[in-house]
């Protein structure tokens, strides 16, 4: 029984899986978002917009699961560090969770306001959050793009902080998010 409980200082496999799965999908969505907006009018552009929306909706669904998991499972405590770093880490994580939800949602609203419903994977029509409205679409375009760049900045900080802990502080911060099997688990 005790082997299935997370060891103190370890993340659950669910938390580790969600972290890296969402990280990978965000990378794909950001890259496609950047490429597709720079493409001329071609069939590939249309396809990429749809793929981008599908990946974004997937991130949104996984982010909801992740927030619920986080609220019901206490993560391992932060490793010893100065108070300001502790505060910064909490603030950044809170910001990242907020962006994981807000960025896909803003894209969904932007798409609907532009007159494009979202049909997930070509199969599942999602409800329209707003009616078509050109002025509204312009506003949400700006919101979506700004949140996108904010996420890029937050992810850079997040990754730099992880590397700082790994290479300068030489602590377990990065390693424990890479560890699949909890230490002591069977």
């Amino acid at each position: 029984m005790s082997a299935t409980l997370p060891t103190p200082g370890a993340y659950t496999r669910t938390a580790v899986s969600l972290h890296w799965l969402i990280a990978g999908l965000i990378g794909v969505a950001l890259l496609m978002g950047w490429i597709m907006t720079n493409l001329g009018v071609t069939p590939l552009k249309l396809k990429m917009y749809n793929w981008h929306k599908w990946v974004g909706i997937t991130v949104l669904a996984l982010a909801v699961v992740r927030v619920l998991w986080r609220l019901t499972h206490r993560p391992p405590a932060l490793l010893p560090m100065p108070a300001w770093q502790r505060l910064a880490a909490h603030a950044l994580h809170l910001g990242l969770y907020a962006l994981l939800l807000a960025l896909p949602l803003s894209g969904w609203v932007y798409s609907n306001a532009s007159g494009y419903p979202i049909v997930y994977l070509r199969l599942l029509p999602l409800p329209n959050l707003v009616d078509r409205d050109k002025a509204l679409a312009g506003t949400w375009h700006a919101v979506h793009e700004t949140l996108g760049w904010l996420l890029v900045a937050a992810l850079l900080l997040h990754a730099l902080a992880a590397l700082k802990h790994h290479f300068l502080d030489r602590d377990d911060t990065l390693r424990r998010m890479l560890r699949w099997r909890s230490p002591g688990a069977a």
Binding site: G115, Y116, R122, R132, A137
Partner: protein, 184 residues
Amino acid sequence: MFKSFMLAGAALGIMAVALAADSALDPAQSTMVATFKQENVPVDAPFRKFSGRINYDAANAAAASASIDVETGSFDIGDAAYNAEVRKPAWFDSGKFPLASFRSTAIKPLSATRFAATGTLTIKGKVLTITVPIDVVPAAGAAAGSTFNGTLTLSRQAYGIGDPQWNDVLDDQVSVRFHLVAHP
């Protein structure tokens, strides 16, 4: 007494429609919206400019006729880059073929408020015969317009609209929903 009053009113109404038989489309009240599907996503795009005449008499619907011209360059997807694309030669070729037009050839009444309109639909110089069911909402008075509603489904490829490289992204079938209000 009341009944005969109503009948007289109805007769007057029919006379008004008969008098107002040949009517011009009211651009402010009429709409024409195409719905195309890209990656299974339905997208509505209106034609902003069209004009025409409808000659309709409820008492003699079979003698009705319609003539409608749509400016292909007024097709509005909602984005300047896409709007510019659909005006190109591979699509509507709006420079060379500014108008898509419908000319009725036969009207078949289906009920008191419904008829099937057969006619030629010319797009991009290609002439095809189509039949479309139309619902009529008769004019409420002499000054009011009659309303004609219907949806027609057509094939892009039959009219040579669209570069074939788009075919796996964009459905061939496009529906056009119209709500036409014609005034005397």
